[in-house]
């Protein structure tokens, strides 16, 4: 394994010839509920693939199918070139998993949890000792390895789960909301580990998240809504596809400014956060015209490139923030967060 230096790009070299995940026409029904309604998906080897969507979109269901934990109702899925339906054990040996819900035994120490995992995955003793130390050091838990997991904070447990998921050198690491309920610092450090991974290991990361800022770390993202994939591309391309920038101005007379925008530029402006707000293609280039033609004194201007939040809104009809605040009332999430 080659070791690159920190200064080098975090972006992995993506090998497009190889497919880490390949999904075709995947459907999952739970009784009458169609959790996944026919999706196609290809994840290239070596990339960090983000999977976004509001609550109940079907993200966890898709991951569970890819991890061989549930059977698909229709369609096919391959992970690391192996069919999830027919080559179950082989798929399992090649993947690492961190579920949305915790799966540690709190009455065992960190190292005992790790050893349990290693033995079920057939990692031999000598490799375990070395590898265990490496992954625990990576997540900063090596010093705490002999403590009971019950004494760990939520963030430490999450880090331990990530380390455990990496223990058997999987080709594909699935992370289902690895940062849920964590403070911003811990979230940042977890993304730091994910970024580091690509420098050390030949690994593909498949991650779901609710946080748009985290999606920026991904090479490509898919947005899922109501069981369908509604968008799939690099973050930059998705934002570019939205097209319009958001311009906010403060003026001497906001009412008159809104009327003038409509009249002179045919733009629909609204008051937002105390500022006159409107969307326009190529916002930066539009600003000079604005100063020239508006005829009302402009006190300040801000131009924002579309954010992933705008992308998300455009494709799902809800903002991530709305989805997030709704999630706070999701009793399941609240419960797991409490642990």
């Amino acid at each position: 394994m080659d070791v690159r230096t920190d200064s080098e790009s975090v972006l992995p070299r993506i090998d497009t010839r190889q497919e880490a995940v390949r999904v075709r026409g995947l459907v999952k029904r739970y009784g009458k509920i169609e959790a996944v309604r026919g999706i196609d998906l290809t994840v290239h080897a070596g990339e960090t693939f983000g999977f976004l969507g509001p609550n109940g979109a079907g993200k966890s269901t898709t991951i569970k199918i890819l991890c061989t934990l549930v059977d698909a109702s229709e369609g096919t899925a391959e992970v690391a070139g192996l069919d999830v339906a027919t080559e179950r054990d082989a798929v399992r040996r090649n993947i690492g998993l961190v579920f949305q819900e915790p799966t540690l035994d709190g009455y065992l120490t960190a190292e005992q949890n790790m050893r349990f995992h290693a033995q079920l995955y057939g990692v031999d003793r000598a490799s375990f000792a070395r590898r265990n130390r490496e992954v625990l050091e990576m997540v900063g838990l090596y010093e705490r390895r002999n403590d009971l997991v019950n004494t760990f904070s939520g963030g430490m447990r999450r880090r331990l789960e990530i380390a455990r998921g990496l223990l058997h050198s999987p080709h594909v690491l699935f992370l289902d909301e690895p940062t849920i309920g964590l403070d911003p610092q811990t979230r940042a450090s977890i993304w730091n580990y994910i970024g580091q991974l690509h420098r050390h290991e030949d690994i593909t990361v498949f991650v779901t998240t609710h946080y748009m800022d985290e999606a920026e770390h991904c090479d490509r993202i898919a947005i899922m809504n109501e069981g369908l994939i509604v968008a799939l591309d690099t973050p930059a391309a998705l934002k570019a596809a939205i097209g319009k920038d958001r311009v906010q101005i403060s003026t001497a007379d906001d009412k008159a400014a809104i009327a003038a925008l409509k009249e002179k530029f045919d733009l629909d402006a609204q008051m937002h956060e105390g500022l006159v707000t409107f969307a326009v293609a190529e916002g930066a280039a539009f600003v000079p015209q604005l100063f020239e033609g508006l005829g009302i004194a402009i006190l300040s201007v801000t131009v924002n490139r579309p954010s992933l939040d705008d992308v998300f809104l455009a494709h799902t009809g809800t903002t991530m923030r709305d989805a997030e605040s709704r999630e706070k009332f999701n009793p399941m999430v609240a419960r797991f967060r409490g642990r």
Binding site: A90, V123, E137, S169
Partner: protein, 285 residues
């Protein structure tokens, strides 16, 4: 952050050896958790003592065994041993409900091993814990007139191990169906109490009314308890007529069922229950 070269580990393919190792791993976890909680031994010690000395003492004054050498407590001893094993094993098996609740079941079920290996490990773990705990009760043998015969003790432990394996498997079957932690304990009580009371652990199998004969002889627990009692009575110096009352063995319309057949019945029951548990857990999602 330090730059470390992380060497990949190669994960071998499956195979029987891997399955055995996985079974032992699950077993080992039960042992670690048992060691962590020494209070469990004390707690599980109380009930058998109560049964042995209070029930045995109280009823013993009513029931004349007919011989000065044989106390009712002596009769009760193997039954009380079985009882302690029964409860411990049942709780070990039902603990799978907690494993599901806290997510650890998923960690086990997504590993590249068979569900059979995991369930077998769980049963071996439950059986080992129950048998270890029974040693504490077994140490009291002298107080109730049972000799400290090492061969007898070993035979008893083997039978108790088999019994607790079967009960753990039974509890696993229940655990597959019970989804809520709150219902787990009532469920154990509901199943375990009749198993115990209808097994001949607490009363002799001689001179039973017809319906009770049928119920006890259809209960696998009966075939698990009787071998334990029979090895004790083999060591006692008593009148055969008295033994026929207290420990008649198991008789199917005149056929005296040998201990080895009783053991085989328990083993078959254990395997059937284990297979059922594997089926139920194989794809619970």
């Amino acid at each position: 952050m330090s730059e470390v070269s992380v060497a990949a580990v190669a994960v071998p393919g499956g195979g029987l050896l891997h399955e055995i190792r996985a079974t032992l791993t699950v077993w080992e976890r039960e042992m670690i958790r048992f060691r962590r909680d020494p209070f469990r031994i004390v707690a599980s010690f109380g009930q058998p003592l109560l049964f042995l000395f209070v029930l045995g003492g109280g009823l013993g004054s009513l029931i004349q065994t007919g011989a000065p050498g044989v106390d009712f407590k002596t009769f009760l001893f193997p039954g009380v041993l079985s009882m302690s094993v029964l409860f411990t094993a049942a709780f070990s098996g039902i603990s799978m409900v907690w494993d599901r609740e806290f997510g650890f079941l998923r960690e086990m079920l997504v590993a590249p091993v068979s569900t059979a290996a995991i369930m077998t490990g769980k049963c071996l773990g439950g059986a080992t814990v129950a048998t270890l705990q029974s040693i504490v009760v077994l140490a009291l043998a002298g107080l109730v007139g049972v000799p400290y015969d090492p061969v007898m003790m070993i035979e008893m432990l083997v039978f108790l191990f088999l019994m607790s394996f079967m009960i753990t498997a039974l509890a696993l079957v229940l655990a597959a169906r019970v989804k809520q932690v709150q219902s787990a304990m009532p469920m154990v009580q509901l199943i375990i109490t009749p198993l115990m009371f209808l097994s001949g652990a607490l009363f002799p199998l001689s001179r039973l009314p017809d319906w009770l004969w049928w119920v006890t002889h259809l209960n696998p627990m009966t075939y698990a308890v009787e071998p334990v009692r029979s090895v004790v009575f083999d060591r006692l110096d008593i009148d055969p007529a008295l033994r026929a009352v207290l420990d008649p063995g198991i008789v199917w319309s005149g056929y005296q069922v040998p201990v080895i057949v009783q053991v085989a019945i328990v083993a078959v029951c254990a395997l059937v229950l284990l297979t059922l548990a594997v089926k139920l857990f194989a794809r619970t999602e």
